[in-house]
């Protein structure tokens, strides 16, 4: 029998991981909502940002917060590049071609990272304390990542609610055709959305590198999970994304301790499949 304290610890870690996963899923959600395209390679962008922070911090001795800011900027640039180079020519193509093009980007980034940096696992070592709460051990790095992720989501919320371009982004995700009818320029909204989505990937990368080691196949574990949380949360639903992220992270974290890491993922993915039948509009959507 597993000591309940381990399960409680796993549950707490699940919530902390859920914060970062929600951030990632929201970035993807934003792009999915506005462009109606799923970037299969989204977490591969996160992987690149993690490498950037790793090299800046361990190679050039940058402080972690500066590396994080650089990562956010780099993520935004990557997002715009992906949009202009790959998505933009395919905006009116069949969905399958859009899937495949970003799928090709996944192969490309994974292998190019392998080529450049080999498959070694790399970790940023920060001397952050481990906190003991009621017999449970919590890493301070995870706590920081959680808090920053929550703050970033609040920031995103304010951006979407209170700026003109944010309102435009929400408008497009509600009705793409109406946007053109109003005479607005969708391309600008697309680029800004991709930049914001990319910046979220960059921030998530900075928050993940202080908890996990990075390697070229990092996206293989987190990629599918991110799509699923994104869809489970429901399009444009920020609270839904957080709820979905926490549920999925809990299952993976607790399931990982009670059974095995793989079984944790299996249960989470099966839950996703079942939820797609039961609540296709997202976990918090009203049943039609």
């Amino acid at each position: 029998m597993i000591d309940p304290i381990f399960i409680a610890e796993a549950a707490l870690n699940g919530i902390l991981l859920g914060g970062v996963m929600a951030l990632l899923a929201l970035g993807l959600n934003l792009i999915f909502g506005v462009l109606d395209i799923v970037w299969i390679a989204y977490v591969e962008l996160v992987m690149l940002c993690m490498y950037l922070v790793y090299f800046l911090v361990t190679g050039y001795g940058w402080p972690i917060w500066l590396g994080g800011l650089a990562s956010v900027a780099f993520g935004a640039v990557l997002g715009v590049a992906v949009h202009l180079l790959i998505i933009s020519p395919l905006l009116n193509s069949a969905a399958i071609n859009q899937f495949l093009a970003t799928g090709g980007l996944l192969f490309f980034l994974q292998s190019f990272a392998t080529f450049l940096w080999t498959t070694d696992h790399r970790t940023v070592r920060l001397n952050l304390p481990i906190i003991e709460v009621a017999g449970m051990f919590l890493s301070f790095a995870r706590l920081i990542a959680f808090v920053v992720a929550i703050l970033a989501m609040i920031g995103l919320y304010l951006f979407l609610r209170h700026t003109f371009i944010g309102t435009a982004i929400r408008a497009v995700s509600q009705d793409r055709d109406a946007m053109r009818l109003m005479g607005a320029n969708p391309q600008r909204v697309y680029v800004v959305t991709s930049a914001v989505g990319g910046a979220m990937a960059g921030l998530a990368g900075a928050l993940l590198i202080i908890q996990y080691s990075v390697h070229p196949y990092f996206g293989a574990a987190f990629g599918p999970l991110t799509f699923m949380i994104c869809v489970l949360g429901g399009l444009g639903n920020m609270v839904g994304a957080v709820v979905a992220a926490v549920i999925m992270s809990e299952i993976i974290s607790v399931g990982g301790v009670m059974m095995s890491t793989e079984m944790g993922y299996v249960i989470a993915f099966v839950l996703f499949i079942v939820m797609m039948f039961a609540r296709p509009g997202g976990i918090l959507a009203k049943r039609e």
């Binding site: 093009a101 090709g104 192969f107 490309f108 292998s111 499949i273 797609m276």
Partner: protein, 329 residues
């Protein structure tokens, strides 16, 4: 004319193992067997793909097929001839369990693709999780049968046997494709792909048709998986299930063109030739470079040849023919 070309191509395919190729024979046959196996699997995928049922999880059926026969043979010595029936039954069950609720609850488009992607991942992770008897991520090797060749075990040291077997299976796949292409079901499925509600309103049983084509595609993919396992005598969760292989199948089909009979074959031949060429070119130097170029080619093809190579070529020829026919008048 077309009939004559087809006969000539078939004759070349039949004679291929006996053509003088010097020391290259074994390698050339190996590449050709792979091309036929993956063409068959691609064709099975395109049965769904051409009607808008984009599955990113065909690795689930492939892995289920390959692992079923391999494990049945390894643990109980069950001949793959019977094993393939179990494998197909398993894939059909997965197809039904996945398909029925999907079609019943109208999970379409991106959502269908993501659900199938999840199913492919579930199969991959289950294989890894059950490592005690599946070998986990290290994969599992098919137990060798006694002797050089065994019909009961479907194991042959001579590659030519597998060559002809894969050609026969491939031709069978083309035959099924053509049967579907010329059936009434095709019109029904095309109508469903265009507009489900409209199709339902004229009396097409949407769920039943979609389920039928899914089951057919799953069953054929499982057969492809069994053939793969028997030929390579080694199965591995990452090369048979999960996103990677599922995307590769789709890419080969889309590159070739999924609306034509030979599209999947052309696409598979090109992608396999490309990856073999890159593998030989780079060898053990520049690890990752081959795949990097593969990914790059994939992106460029999708952007510049959206209808696929074979599809674009056929469209270009058709256009030229039409112009020529129009010119004398």
């Amino acid at each position: 004319m077309a009939r004559l070309t087809a006969a000539a191509v078939l004759a070349i395919i039949a004679a291929a193992p006996f053509l003088p190729m010097g020391g290259m024979r074994q390698y050339a046959l190996h590449v050709l067997v792979q091309i036929f196996i993956w063409s068959f699997i691609g064709g099975a995928w395109s049965l769904m793909g051409r009607f808008g049922l984009i599955s990113l999880g065909h690795g689930a059926f492939l892995g289920a097929g390959a692992y079923t026969t391999t494990l049945l043979w390894n643990f109980w010595g069950l001949t793959p001839w019977l094993g393939v029936l179990v494998a197909v039954a398993g894939a059909v069950v997965i197809g039904l369990v996945l398909g029925y609720p999907c079609f019943r609850f109208r999970v379409v488009g991106h959502y269908f693709a993501l659900v199938t992607l999840a199913v492919g991942e579930v199969v991959r992770l289950l294989v890894i999780a059950e490592r005690d008897w599946t070998g986990g991520s290290l994969g599992v090797t098919l137990k060798a049968s006694a002797g050089e060749a065994s019909l009961a075990a479907i194991q042959f040291a001579d590659k030519r046997v597998f060559y002809y077997a894969s050609v026969v299976v491939w031709l069978g796949g083309l035959w099924v494709w053509r049967r579907v292409d010329r059936s009434m079901a095709r019109s029904a499925l095309e109508a469903i792909g265009e507009d489900e509600t409209a199709a339902a309103s004229v009396g097409i049983h949407v769920t039943r048709f979609k389920l039928a084509i899914t089951v057919l595609s799953a069953a054929l993919t499982a057969v492809g998986g069994v053939l793969y396992a028997q030929y390579f005598t080694y199965v591995n969760p990452d090369t048979l299930s999960g996103i990677g292989v599922s995307l590769r199948i789709v890419f080969a089909v889309v590159l070739g063109g999924m609306y034509s009979l030979l599209g999947p074959t052309v696409g598979s031949a090109l992608t396999i030739a490309l990856s073999e060429y890159l593998r030989v070119l780079f060898g053990l130097k520049f690890i990752g470079m081959a795949e990097t170029i593969y990914g790059l080619v994939l992106i460029l093809c999708i952007i510049f040849l959206p209808a696929g190579i074979y599809g674009s070529l056929r469209a270009a020829i058709a256009r030229r023919m039409a112009r020529r026919r129009a010119a004398p008048a």
